[in-house]
């Protein structure tokens, strides 16, 4: 046919007639037969195309309704009469297998039938109002309602699925392939439910009960694990549980379920028990250095919220316990009776050493077991800071520790490791709040090392300084470096001076160390009476020095320096006869020595003494016997120092006393008299007279503290002036904040201290208050 002729004729719209009911019945009957044949898996006489046409005709003939309803009826009947009874025979093991087969078969058949009735889906379903489901979906609904929701089947299904999994958890072998298809079936059946959730049916029938059971299972097993195992074994078990569940999900459950199972595992196995795990395991693992196990524990706790916090807390707690124990050890040693000098020295060094050791231990733990976790590092650092700064004497102890190490030259450490140890020490220093106190002590200790030449290795000294410089800036170490420089220039100066005629004219072997004031923790001393011929040596040098440097003044530090004296002891034979009885009642005279002195011949010793002692001893060249009062007047040595000198000379070991003393009381009094001990003897030719250390170390402490306080006042003022000079006008609170920021590298300034300094500066006309606003400060230029 050609369309050319049709332009005149109207295109008639084809309106299909309604197929009459009888014809429709006929067609449906043959279709129904075909459907049953598919279910029964037998051949039918008509071809696929003929069936398709029948369905097409029925739908176009407005008999689709009959076809649709008929389809539902046939499927329902099939399910009720053919399928459901199958399950009644299926007992135990093969229930899931049966379901698998039935479901697979039903699925294929339904697809075949749907293809036969394809036109129903294409036309009838699409245009039907209200909307109806497609044939396949209806079939799924029917399967769900008639088979899976059928109470006995439903119960059995759940029971078998859960039972299989329970068995597998006990390491029984199960045919999980049927489980997998059951799950898939439930997923497929979920797709046609009216709920918006595409997993609704799966969740309802299987997942919900499964998760409940999982939770119960792990709740009980975790208790059992805990009771039976150590933390480390528990951790391993938990790892295994995770692995098992993961493999289970991989094989037959879906990812979503796995996520939910993991959540339960985390909750039941980890979160609920983590406190117990950490309490029971952490300390043990640390003490036995079980880094791998600690690592596992860390990884486990990482899985749950707050897990790492808990671990960090416990670690901090343990650390606090470890170091507070150190403190106890030390305070105990401190309170028990009188401390000998060695013990006093030992204490700070042991204290710092223990902190370093504990810090090492925790650093190792964090790097080897806790993945270098910054929050852990932070926690540990805070604990150390708290501890270190909790002890007011930490800055002093740290400096003493370094002093000890530098004097001994790090003998106990391999050379290659010295630098590492120094880094650790400086790291500890970093934690100190009162860096200025440390600096002061360090200066005191360093100056002693330098002046007495006690440093064993200059490179290490310099290394410490450069590390401190890196840490705190050049200004912090400027004076310390100045001290080293002074030593160098002094040595050069002496070389030069030795070649001058002035030097060779002197009969004493004289040398001097010239220090720059301010760099050293020393102050000019009040002058004392030094015998002229001795003083001359210094005065000659002083002239030479001042000639070289203009604008300077040079003061002898009489509390420093040392001398070597040739001392002659002639022995005596008179004294013991003259005063036998009184001596016995005076404990500090040397009666016992003198009793034999007539036998002792003249001996010569070299005494190494400090400058004060030198002056005192030289007095005995002129007079045989001197009272304390006389010595004080003659030498002008400060009373306290003179007492110490005389104590050192007359109160040591009996045979080692250079001077004899006669006095009433234990302490030296001004009427006490002194004379040479002719019975002095020593195995060595060179004898160093040790100064008695200040009896009370505690007495010394506040003076250093006081000096620090004074320095701080200056530093605070300097900071305030610097800030105000730059800012001109500033409010009180801003000034406090800025000063604190500037100063905190050295110490933590108390706001009250800053406030006092501001007031002081106002009095001294550096600053003034604003006329209107009392809280505003102006800088006065």
């Amino acid at each position: 046919m050609s369309y050319k002729h049709s332009d005149s004729s109207k295109i008639k719209q084809y309106i299909p007639k309604r197929m009459d009911d009888e014809e429709a019945e006929q067609k449906w009957k043959s279709l129904k037969k075909a459907i049953n044949a598919v279910h029964a898996r037998i051949h039918v006489t008509m071809s696929f195309e003929e069936y398709y046409c029948s369905a097409y005709a029925m739908v176009t003939g407005k008999q689709g309704e009959m076809l649709y309803r008929g389809f539902c009826e046939v499927i329902s009947e099939h399910l009720i009469h053919q399928i459901r009874p199958l399950f009644e025979n299926a007992i135990n093991e093969n229930f899931l297998e049966t379901l698998d087969t039935v479901w697979t078969k039903f699925n294929t058949e339904t697809i075949m039938i749907r293809d036969l009735l394809m036109y129903v889906d294409r036309s009838f379903v699409d245009f039907h109002r209200p909307p109806v489901k497609k044939l396949y979906d209806v079939a799924l609904d029917l399967f769900r309602e008639i088979i899976v929701d059928y109470p006995t089947i439903n119960d059995q299904l759940k029971a078998f699925m859960l039972n299989c999994i329970a068995q597998e958890r006990q390491y029984a072998h199960i045919s999980w392939i049927h489980l997998k298809s059951a799950c898939q079936m439930l997923h497929t059946l979920s797709s046609t439910t009216n709920s918006g959730n595409k997993r609704y049916y799966y969740e309802q029938v299987f997942e919900g009960p499964f998760l409940r059971e999982t939770q119960e299972y792990y709740q009980t097993s975790s208790q059992k694990f805990l009771e039976e195992n150590s933390t480390s074994v528990y951790v391993k078990k938990v790892r295994e549980c995770f692995k098992d569940e993961e493999s289970r999900s991989d094989r037959y459950l879906d990812d979503e379920t796995m996520r939910k199972v993991f959540k339960i595992l985390r909750e039941e196995l980890i979160r609920k028990n983590m406190q117990i795990l950490v309490n029971n395991g952490l300390v043990d693992m640390i003490n036995n250095e079980k880094y791998m196990e600690l690592r596992d524990l860390y990884e486990l706790l990482k899985e749950v919220e707050n897990g790492l916090n808990l671990l960090a807390d416990s670690l901090g707690e343990f650390l606090r316990h470890q170091i507070s124990y150190l403190n106890e050890e030390n305070t105990e040693a401190c309170s028990s009776e009188q401390l000998t000098i060695e013990k006093q020295l030992f204490k700070p060094i042991a204290f710092i050493q223990s902190i370093l050791d504990v810090k090492d231990q925790f650093d190792t733990i964090i790097s080897r077991a806790f993945n270098n976790d910054t929050s852990f590092r932070h926690r540990i650092r805070t604990e150390f800071e708290k501890f270190l700064n909790g002890n007011k004497r930490s800055p002093e102890f740290l400096s003493l520790y370094i002093d000890e190490k530098l004097r001994k030259g790090f003998k106990e450490v391999r050379e290659s490791e010295v630098d590492l140890l120094l880094d650790k020490i400086v790291n500890l220093f970093r934690h100190l709040q009162e860096k200025d106190v440390f600096e002061r002590y360090y200066k005191i200790h360093l100056s002693k090392r330098l002046i007495f030449n006690k440093t064993s290795n200059m490179d290490y000294e310099k290394s410490v300084i450069s590390k401190l410089r890196d840490e705190c800036g050049a200004i912090f170490t400027m004076k310390l470096e100045g001290m080293f420089k002074d030593m160098g220039t002094s040595a050069d100066l002496m070389e030069e001076y030795k070649n001058t005629p002035q030097f060779s004219s002197s009969n004493v072997e004289f040398s001097v160390q010239v220090l720059t004031a301010v760099n050293w923790p020393y102050h000019a001393t009040t002058s004392i009476n030094i015998p002229l011929n001795v003083l001359n040596a210094f005065e000659t040098f002083k002239d030479y020095y001042l000639g070289k440097h203009s604008g300077r003044k040079l003061d002898l530090l009489v509390n420093q320096g040392y001398a070597e004296l040739n001392a002659y002891f002639y022995g005596s034979n008179k004294r013991e006869e003259e005063a036998p009885s009184q001596l016995e009642s005076q404990p500090y005279t040397n009666s016992s020595v003198n009793s034999n002195s007539s036998l002792i011949p003249t001996r010569k010793y070299q005494l190494i003494v400090n400058t004060y002692t030198m002056v005192v001893l030289l007095c005995f060249n002129e007079r045989e016997k001197l009272s304390f009062k006389q010595l004080l007047d003659e030498t002008k040595i400060p009373e306290k120092e003179l007492v110490r000198v005389l104590q050192s000379l007359s109160m040591g070991k009996t045979s080692m006393r250079v001077l004899c003393r006669q006095g009433k009381n234990k302490e030296i009094e001004s009427a006490d008299e002194f004379w040479l001990n002719d019975g002095f003897s020593s195995k060595l030719k060179k004898v160093r007279i040790q100064m008695i250390s200040n009896r009370n170390c505690l007495e010394k402490e506040p003076t250093t503290r006081e000096k620090v306080e004074e320095d701080r006042r200056h530093e605070v003022e300097a900071a305030i002036v610097r800030i105000m000079k730059a800012r001109k006008i500033l409010s009180h609170s801003e000034l406090i904040v800025e000063s604190t920021n500037q100063l905190k590298a050295r110490f933590n300034p108390d706001p009250i201290l800053i406030k006092r300094r501001i007031e002081n500066l106002i009095e001294r006309d550096y600053l003034k208050r604003d006329d209107q606003d009392q809280k505003l400060y102006h800088y006065i230029t």
């Binding site: 720059t516 003061d555 008299e673």
Partner: protein
Amino acid sequence: MNESSPSKSPPKSENKLFTLKKWNAVAMWAWDVECDTCAICRVHLMEACLRCQSDSKAEDCVVVWGECNHSFHNCCMSLWVKQNNRCPLCQQDWTVQRIGQ
């Protein structure tokens, strides 16, 4: 009280008991100044002025004395005289008396 004293034994002045063999003294130098703070920068004269401290030239920061005997950091003063050739303390004309070394 003096019975036990050894005063009766003759003094051995011909042979001295102690003779000094060697003396290692320690001395400390400072600038010979009346006021130890620099009135210009308000830093102790024994320490370098702030400018030299921050340029780490502390070594070269010496002290200068005027004819009026007032003393300052040399570098502080040389900046000062550019603006005002008088001593900041006594207002006399500034002439250098000596420079420390």
